[in-house]
Symmetry: C2
Subunit: 337 residues, 2 copies
Amino acid sequence: GRQILKEMVDELPALYELPQKEAKWVEDSLEYNTQGGKMNRGLIVVETGVAIMKHQGREPTNADLNRFAVLGWAVEYLQACMLMADDMMDGSVTRRGNPCWYRLPHVGLLNTNDFLMVEMFVYKILKRHFGQERIFPWLMDLFLETTFQTECGQLLDSICANCELEELTTERWTLIVKYKTAFYSFYLPVALAMLVTGVRDKKAFDTARDALLLMGIYFQAQDDYLDAFASPEVLGKVGTDIQDKKCSWLFAHAYHEQSTPEAIKFLDEHYGKCEVGSQEESKIKEVYRELGLQELFQEYEEDVENRLEDFKSQVKAADLPWSVFDRFFQLIHKRRK
Amino acid sequence: GRQILKEMVDELPALYELPQKEAKWVEDSLEYNTQGGKMNRGLIVVETGVAIMKHQGREPTNADLNRFAVLGWAVEYLQACMLMADDMMDGSVTRRGNPCWYRLPHVGLLNTNDFLMVEMFVYKILKRHFGQERIFPWLMDLFLETTFQTECGQLLDSICANCELEELTTERWTLIVKYKTAFYSFYLPVALAMLVTGVRDKKAFDTARDALLLMGIYFQAQDDYLDAFASPEVLGKVGTDIQDKKCSWLFAHAYHEQSTPEAIKFLDEHYGKCEVGSQEESKIKEVYRELGLQELFQEYEEDVENRLEDFKSQVKAADLPWSVFDRFFQLIHKRRK
Ligand SMILES: [Mg+2]
Ligand SMILES: [Mg+2]
Ligand SMILES: [Mg+2]
Ligand SMILES: [Mg+2]
Ligand SMILES: [Mg+2]
Ligand SMILES: [Mg+2]
């Protein structure tokens, strides 16, 4: 991680004539925004790569591990760019326990140029470490495509702010989370590991994508569920989805799938209009409970588990190690934070 | 132009499941931000491509013209992305006679996601029209590299806001304008035309780049000069460089090359601290005149003309048509707006 950062910052003065001050700025921005996360997405690339190689009967060398790690970092850089842009769009205050980069007084609107630079570093990492390889154009294309998919998700999410509650359906919810989160967090890291271990079968990528998007969508459903029902101490943050009029799993199901006239009336009056911790906000959570959303969520969880199980034969037919999918699911299944 | 826009927007519902409303949003954003400019950079690609082909003894077909035009549009999309980001960072009010996109009430911070999408459309254009060609990876690399160079220029420019006047030197000025403007406005369009007409000689690209950066830097010097000395009626806008403490050609030369103790004292007291139209601002322009900057600028103009003339033999040795460089220079030389 630090080494990738360093090798890129070190070339800035020679290749782009950046003075000390500016090179330091870029270094600080990369340090602040790309380091210190949980690295989940980056680690998925490594774990998946190792599992596929073993499945192929090969023992990963240090060089292999390094290649997986480099791609893992490229994913982390892409995520950093997206989060820096998202925090500014959302007016968020903190990220990973620190103030958001754009909130630092000396940064402010410069955040915009900084996340554009982080985005370009993704392609610099790819070019430096994979520029001479046959898979290079596919890696480039996968990152560009995933970036665009995530931006489509952000667009879907943002436009909700101007939507009537009527429009915040479960179909829209699925679309938002699939594009906003699932492609880059679940499909991208696994697809990278597949590309770099020599998987070329289109069917294998399609199967992996379907299974991973299912998990990614479930992951966001959990996020929405915990936003309302997890205690802030366990969750590490205070949920604001009701106040923010989010198209959340809970809201979409309450309003469109399980609704009663009374529930709709109350939501129409207060959803997105009441503050965190207010009586109305508690009452909305109460409505969610009365509509049986906690039970519905459990059913949904089991349904995901079953549908994932159905992928097992397809995954094996595509000659991919089922352990990868099983393990990711165990990591997120019934998480409490 | 419209056709490229349309073919990309049309595929959004099928490829990214975008609903009507979101597809319309993207269309509006592309329409507002990529159409209706002067298209100078786009036209340079076409003109240069035609000139090189004729120089090679070939007559451009409609298919050739179309290829040049497509790359011209890709440059225009990159520029649109950069301008949308720049306007937000600068807090600008108007662009091409309309309110900046981010200033429209229904847009606001969504501008961020919109310019990220415009950036991705650059690569969508390239993939659709050149994805099967041998030059495709070079086109991709050239756009990515130019994007990063422009971002380096934006960083250099932005960090000036926190600089002491002492640091706003002519060297820094050159660095800023070279990276912020010259690479993408002058080198990129010509380099694209060279790539697509089959030029492969590295020396030819180096020569073209040196000559074009010279012109690009001169172009920005004119911009800075006109900001202070052109009448707003002719210029079409009111210059704000003095108020904004810009590292302009005039300031850098006044403070560091032609300075007197009195001039430095006055600039220290008022540069970047007085408003447009104020007495102090007029006095600073007066100081510029007294220091002989108008004459110095004329000398600089002649110097550029001579240095460009010196490139003539190199350009011919690289088997490039000199007419291209000559014509661009005539377009900008001694411009009054
Ligand atoms: Mg956010
Ligand atoms: Mg957001
Ligand atoms: Mg959430
Ligand atoms: Mg600006
Ligand atoms: Mg600017
Ligand atoms: Mg100007």
